[in-house]
Symmetry: C2
Amino acid sequence: MMRTRPLKVALLGCGVVGSEVARIMTTHADDLTQRIGAPVELAGVAVRRPSKVREGIDPALITTDATALLKRGDIDIAIEVIGGIEPARTLITTAFEHGISVVSANKALLAQDGAALHAAAEQHGRDLYYEAAVAGAIPLVRPMRESLAGDKINRVMGIVNGTTNFILDKMDSTGAGYQEALDEATALGYAEADPTADVEGYDAAAKAAILAGIAFHTRVRLDDVYREGMTEVSAADFASAKRMGCTIKLLAILERAADGESVTARVHPAMIPLSHPLASVREAYNAVFVEAEAAGRLMFYGPGAGGAPTASAVLGDLVAVARNKLAEATGPGESAYTQLPVSPMGEVVTRYHISLDVADKPGVLAQVATTFAEHGVSIDTVRQQGKDGEASLVVVTHRAADAALSGTVEALRKLDTVRGVASIMRVEGE
Amino acid sequence: MMRTRPLKVALLGCGVVGSEVARIMTTHADDLTQRIGAPVELAGVAVRRPSKVREGIDPALITTDATALLKRGDIDIAIEVIGGIEPARTLITTAFEHGISVVSANKALLAQDGAALHAAAEQHGRDLYYEAAVAGAIPLVRPMRESLAGDKINRVMGIVNGTTNFILDKMDSTGAGYQEALDEATALGYAEADPTADVEGYDAAAKAAILAGIAFHTRVRLDDVYREGMTEVSAADFASAKRMGCTIKLLAILERAADGESVTARVHPAMIPLSHPLASVREAYNAVFVEAEAAGRLMFYGPGAGGAPTASAVLGDLVAVARNKLAEATGPGESAYTQLPVSPMGEVVTRYHISLDVADKPGVLAQVATTFAEHGVSIDTVRQQGKDGEASLVVVTHRAADAALSGTVEALRKLDTVRGVASIMRVEGE
């Protein structure tokens, strides 16, 4: 079954992930050959800075002209680990046009232009694999696309950003505030100098869009994903969460509506019970909880980033794409046949945990309770706490539409007796 | 891309899993058609008791002659959910001989005859998929075979039997003894009337053999798997575990030796720290922890049994096999190119937690410590506890070869001052 002509691989980008991919392709060449049924050969490495010393990579393979590498006629598979929109998008399209299948780790591009790239792959009869684009090393795209292909996924809830999980875990375990925990994450290399993409939820939103498409067999654009960052989460919120037997995580949540006719996609911090499997995901680990009709509740856990873990996912895809190439077949392409509308955040049904600073006088609770009732939001529990003439009121609601909950909060802010809304957080995972 | 001639499926067995497979094939026919690219049709159902009423299945499809069904010439894919060795083995072989690809949920058969069945599938150019054979609905076989195909798996540690996890979780959370917890499991339908296969670890050992083969690309026979049941685990063991910040799980553990030249496979109860992700796997859930060289630490969690979850895994395989059939390709077959020897249990390196009942007099600890030293086993901690003239000694060792640890225990039993070895348990997951 073994053939000797090697499959030729063009590596586009040679940063943290790319250099690991090249290293493993070299050190594990024999294993890869056995698993694929043919050798794979690194036939070219396109980089921006050719002068940089790259250990273990033959300098003759280095080029700055990625397009020429793809067009030279002998490449079977391209691995795109450049990241960002351009030139990655044009290069991937060029690859398909030249009969080259593509493995990509590019979440931003897949989230923004996944549909067009899938269409291009299909048009040219080539593969587009991207396990590494979501949750790093964790096998997630393949299990959702293939293992659960005979099932119906109703809900996906995940921790898909390691930086923010590291920060929140620190806040939870040490009582630190946001800034202190962020500083530690930066010092340890878990957060970038500009942490915006992580802490404001942009990174998680891109992954949410990709996962929603796979889970629901529909197209979910990045703009369809409701996004709230976690920079406002405070030590006081963690104290409140603890009193409820909860912790706080930045979650990507994708849901099919009860009637099955629409979906929702959102990223925001939320309280989840300590008994939930996601609550025990520590440090920079990622985990994704999937609820399917027949399979029930599944969870996938592992490192969500890093050079070697991401390279592991890229190489798993490389093996699959190489096997497909030898069989002259392609793997499953985009499956977006349901065309379900994405509902706005206001239609999401969830629960709220609201902390209010209120005047310490009789009738306040009645006034607050009336406001909730007027907006059709049912209260689960209320806790009153007096302190030096001031008082605080912590309300946890039953499930209600997000718009009704927002409306309630807006009305509460206008009450004389409410001096301030100290915090608002959704409660998930029950 | 859509073709209209349906792929014809023979369902062999129609018990708890088979009837769910038939139900989902009917109710989700449109989804399956979209995901495969052609309709799949239930073309025949082989059963033992044809008179039994089977809701939702056309009685005209029912037959007692599974062999004739496979030989009739129009079947593309067979789903084997009979279980056990025969007639399942002969039927699967017959299927391959007639050009039929097979999806099986049969762990006992795969563990015993996996190599021969894989060889038969390859000889006839057909697929053999069996995601449902290990850990029910949890995508595990595909992620390990495909997602991690570019990585090197060094260790697999899993809870792969739901019945025993339910029992151990009850013992942990309620302080119940083994028999009481087993009775509850039986009453709730989690344990069978004869629970031997579960509680003695036979079921877990079969799954361990299958997983070891996939993880290490080598053949591991059922006889190669060391097996210890969990019927001796006591409430006192859980109390000891708690004092160490641990709980007790029945684990399947597969390891590649440090030199990479051999592997080990074993099933036994073990203490694991509460901070380990496997410690929080409750009730009848399964979870498998995989350590790979590049990917790092991954975990896969979900329901390990039950009709619908197992059917989900079967249908995922059905979609893959059907897609392969349409592409006139086959998926990855057995990958057993490494031919690594399986070392005996004595060579496994692990830690022990040993409770001794000893005479309450001076010099006992020195005598016990000397015995450990003589066998080359280094002690991590010792705790002494006196009670009414008797005393107990709890020793936790550092890592040592299992044979050295067994030898130590044997020698301890012969000491005058040791009145009895109250319990011995391995400590894992650190």
